[in-house]
Symmetry: C2
Subunit: 197 residues, 2 copies
């Protein structure tokens, strides 16, 4: 459990990694973001609802996932502390979300409503730059995921995942890692068996 005073520290640190903000800016930012606590398995965003907030994870673990017509689940993204998570298309276009977002552990987030963020962009223009850089990085990371999923075997993608995301691997069941990698849990299980021999 995190004290309310401490909660905003990681958000401000996250912003300060990319842009310079004054004390005045900081208090405007802190006033705009509201905390929200989630129990394990709580759904933060339902498919079909509109996402109206940008969300920063203070503590815990979440997943965003897609369910197709046949009822199969596909994990779009994981999120842990100091990550941002959203259905960005829904947020940007005010259309019904395509994805669910669910807490996989007890989780605390700080979220800002779209209207407040639009105000913040005017009051603290450097936040434009902050989100531009965040978006650039998210885009690059996802494009890399696309290329790797085309060019590498599932075994190599799994090895890379556990190497670079051990913190996530320890917080989510194995079948969700499989889903994120685009393979079945049974297949991941056989990959792991082959690795250990």
């Amino acid at each position: 459990m995190i004290a309310k005073e401490d909660m905003y520290i990681s958000l401000i640190e996250n912003i300060k990694e990319l842009v310079t903000v004054s004390e005045k800016d900081i208090s405007l930012i802190m006033d705009s973001f509201k905390p929200k606590a989630l129990a394990k398995k709580d759904i933060l965003l339902f498919k079909g609802d509109t996402s109206n907030h940008m969300r920063f994870i203070i503590e815990g673990c979440l997943r965003s996932y897609y369910i197709n017509e046949e009822g199969h689940e596909y994990i779009v993204q994981f999120g842990i502390r100091n990550w941002w998570i959203n259905d960005l298309f829904s947020y940007l276009t005010k259309t019904p979300a395509q994805y669910f977002i669910q807490a996989l552990q007890p989780t605390t987030i700080l979220q800002i409503h779209r209207d407040d963020l639009d105000k913040l962009f005017i009051q603290v223009p450097v936040m434009e730059r902050f989100f531009r850089i965040k978006m650039e990085r998210a885009y690059v990371a996802n494009l890399n995921r696309t290329v790797k999923s085309m060019s590498e075997t599932s075994e190599s993608r799994y090895l890379n995942f556990i190497k670079t995301h051990r913190d996530i691997e320890q917080n989510v069941p194995q079948y969700m890692v499989a889903s994120y990698l685009g393979i079945t849990p049974e297949h991941l299980s056989t990959i792991r068996k082959n690795l250990h021999q």
Copy 2:
């Protein structure tokens, strides 16, 4: 062939779709972007070189592609008129490009050097917002590609591609469409045969 005066019109229109710019802003923008012409098959960016420009396509068609250790090619992105194309990771981090960018048709682009864009962000701050929104959209589009590649059959992805990107399909060989979709040209050929029966 496009007259020099007309070339900047599509760039300015592209910017005006998302943000409001003054006449002063427009002339600053126009001064910063330089035209470049490419013949079919010309390489705009080589793997290993650093990308130092943001690039807007006036006319023609390009692809960015990745070659893995075994020498297999994977198409990361296509670009046609009014699209932006780059190896963004290389540009942002000043590291050697992972991808090649090549003209697939005679092509004209407008490009801005990183140093000039950094200046432009200060002179015309609304350009921060422009690129933030562009990045948001690019991120969302690519995440959608990721989810579709996990959840849909290659036939359905092909049908969706020719429906939504007929302009690209008509400018690139079929084996490149296959590469973009993450399948072999032979397999795309059999998909097409099955469709026509």
